[in-house]
Assembly symmetry: C2
Homo-oligomer: 497 residues x 2
């Protein structure tokens, strides 16, 4: 059987074309990843019957593939933040997330996320997610210990630290190694199993939505055991079907920036069908051009002491930012080559621990020698390093505002890594656009009128995080679990048809 349905997810089925209803449920959730699981739990706990439809043979989605760090804080701090000695303010968290999202920030959504963030922490604890009250000091992309808290963004870096008091908000599950995602989904799935009101249908593809004469969403068409079935939903459909990172045509059309990347991050179901189904009934897809694209240049954390230069031998970013911010700035350079310049000591155990995989482009016993080897114009790298080293001594990076703790003069011999996009470095990416929703999870049209009966959460919706340059680890699973819960509650509160 072909994986491509003849039914176009961009065209809903009309109720008059439904010969019979094969199944019925109060709430249908499309996709059993982090968002879908949390949506189902909340809808069931509010008294609705729920059916979870998952195209794969098991639950998990992209959440299970992730580290499942969860970005939480504000309100004086979560239990873990407080235990580790951090008092977090809601306003600082809002300011940081507003700066992260940039001009396209959804302030209502960010405020709601931040104001309810410690409550969300408690909800997660209540369903059984374990967090240890310990702080992981090392700068890391993911926490390989079982520590409960770490910095996972650009909170301590320019320009964020100048406007919002830094606080670590990345909450890591109490488990050794990079195993947060599987544990998170195991616990969510156990919660789903425990609720009799929830039915899970695996290996079931949702083909399209069903609308009534008023264009309200009243059901969906599924394919199960090679049969096409009409499912009547009495309260609503919640789309939690992921993003569109696996759909090359959509990437090129909507998020061309991401074509600079080389490794899509997501599960095979991230083909955009959830977003397309929402659009088909008038839902607005927004922020579709944005995505996360990164050069995961640490570990080793000592890389942060190096400098990044373009083909003019110039620095252009403070190297202590979150790796996704650096990646976004690298991708947008008009530069034929981009290098990471390090001393041998800073290079350290790069070869053993790096995820980035960038090759050595040159080495030099002197700066001049490296400059020549990289075929940079004479004097340019020498000048950049002269200025940088003077700034390291004075403790103030006048050029790119890297924090003092990372300022260490570059003393030859030096190594240059080639981090030019397209020349071998690992450049993972995923999408950050989706259906516009109210903080409740209700999908809205371009005029922000609600589409009755339709909800979205997780990556199918456009959530609190909107830009690569402002991303922090933990914002995706944080948003997925939080927005899933809200959509589940909202759908369950709707009058049954």
């Amino acid at each position: 059987m072909s994986d491509k349905s003849k039914i176009n997810p961009s065209k809903p089925r009309k109720i008059r074309d439904v010969a019979q209803w094969d199944l019925e449920t109060d709430v249908a959730v499309v996709g059993f990843g982090g968002a879908g699981g949390c949506a189902a739990i909340e809808a069931a706990d509010a008294g609705s019957n729920v059916t979870l439809f998952e195209v794969a043979s098991d639950n998990g989605g992209s959440t299970a593939m992730s580290s499942a760090e969860i970005y939480m804080g504000g309100n004086g701090g979560t239990r873990v933040q407080q235990a580790c000695g951090f008092e977090d303010s809601t306003e600082d968290m809002i300011t940081y997330m507003m700066m992260s999202a940039g001009p396209q920030a959804d302030e209502a959504k960010i405020r709601n996320y931040c104001e309810n963030s410690t409550d969300h922490f408690q909800w997660l604890v209540d369903i059984g997610i374990p967090f240890k009250d310990s702080f992981h000091k090392e700068r890391a992309i993911m926490c390989l210990t079982d520590d409960g808290l770490l910095y996972t963004g650009s909170e301590k870096a320019y320009p964020f630290a100048q406007q919002a008091k830094p606080c670590p908000r990345g909450h890591n599950l109490h488990v050794e190694g990079d195993n947060g995602g599987p544990l998170f989904m195991k616990i969510v799935a156990e919660n789903v199993d425990r609720r009799e009101a929830i039915t899970v249908a695996y290996e079931t593809r949702v083909l399209t939505l069903i609308v009534d004469e008023e264009d309200s969403v009243v059901g969906l068409v599924i394919r199960q055991n090679q049969k096409e079935l009409n499912v009547r939903t009495h309260q609503g459909v919640i789309l939690c079907a992921g993003g569109f990172v696996m759909n090359e045509e959509m990437i090129r059309k909507y998020a061309p920036m991401l074509t600079a990347g080389n490794t899509p991050i997501g599960n095979p179901g991230d083909t955009g069908t959830g977003i397309l189904m929402g659009m088909s009934v008038g839902g607005a897809a927004i922020n579709m051009h944005e995505g996360f694209i990164t050069l995961p240049y640490y570990p080793p954390a000592s890389m942060t002491k190096g400098i990044v230069i373009n083909d003019q031998g110039q620095r252009f970013i403070n190297e202590d930012v979150y790796h996704g911010r650096l990646g976004a700035f690298v991708v947008r350079q008009q530069s034929e080559r981009v290098y990471f310049i390090l001393s041998v000591e800073q290079y350290g155990d790069y070869e053993r621990v790096s995820y980035m995989g960038s090759g050595v482009a040159g080495t030099g016993e002197t700066v001049q020698e490296l400059e020549e080897e990289l075929e940079l114009r004479e004097g340019t790298l020498q000048q950049t390093i002269k200025v940088y080293n003077e700034d390291c001594v004075s403790g103030k990076d006048t050029q790119c505002h890297k924090a003092a703790e990372w300022l260490e003069p570059l003393v030859p011999p030096l190594v240059a890594l080639d981090i030019t996009p397209g020349r071998g470095s690992f450049l993972p990416f995923f999408t950050l656009g989706g259906l516009d929703t109210l903080p409740t999870g209700e999908v809205v049209d371009p005029q922000r009128d609600v589409i009755p009966g339709l909800y979205a959460a997780g990556r199918t919706a456009c959530g609190v995080v909107r830009r690569a340059e402002g991303y922090s680890s933990g914002m995706s699973v944080g948003d997925a679990s939080f927005s899933g819960r809200l959509a589940g509650k909202q759908a369950a509160a709707r009058a049954r048809s």
Copy 2:
């Protein structure tokens, strides 16, 4: 009467809700600017009855407000190109336009545009558009003489010139001063008036589309003399209602980059309703994040000999590019200040002729003095100018690849203009996203299935030009007139319902 209709353009009217048809036409064209006018002419010439609906009291749209340069060439050259001694190749034109559009290029559309460009020139001549066979040598944003041809893009600049043989393709109407737009629309309107098959309805707002049971577009709802009327279209509706530059909410939601600008360029009707109506019936809106944003830094052309620096005292762009490309690079800098540095001679009659209006941030009898006055880190601007001046002497800009003809050492005394976005410079902008269409003008859904009965052209569609960094003057009116014609022909060829 409120200007805001209670009818939401994001929701079409259903045929079952149409009590009576008040008017009928074969083809309805929404918007009488350059695209709409050309669409009406072609549809009428193909045998259809056409009604043009225009919300304003007169025709013109944004075309009439523009210089109406028209980007044409290839195929050995237009009559004007050939007379001026330029032989243009279709492949060079395609290469240039593909580079301009970047990864989101629509190759089929660009090829069609280029391959038929000299024919389009002839069609324009045939309807009476006058072009003089003369070449305007001076670098200019708009041609204030009556010359027929000039360079209006980055054809001679890096990185374009390295891949496509440069050729001037900006065709300027035979009229003195910046009066191309009014003349273009006057001639188009005369052609419309001359055709009995075309009816023009001014002061008529199109509120929403009407769809039949199969979601084909079969008409539209208009408001005329404070009455709401249903218009039956037997062949199709062509949306030529401009972009969304006047809709602040849409700009923030879809094209946040443009919030850096300060002057929207367009007519008051550019509120995005054409795009919203297309989306309401399943049309895909694409490239919505992109727009043209510029620092119109020449005239005087001598500005091109200056350098642009960020707050690290670094150059980041070859200053001989089209002004829109420089604007796009300025906007994306992570830099608290951006300056244009010039010698007094290069500054020339800036104050008298500049459109940019940037204030003087500092002057210096020496580079060091200017560096201090601008509070740049000591040695940075000195180094940049040292390297630049050496490169000028050698005739090769090793850093930013500005063409040799513009390389002239910066000799103090120097002037610095503050071109930081938000600090007084003129930063005009407009949108470059719209409905996805086939080269025929048929509007398609996200799966690229055609929406029956719906067409779009001009800025309501997403045309051949897709990025600020690749824009050239003449691409908008070129695309509007060409895409309007194609949509008109295509609608007229459709079987009448």
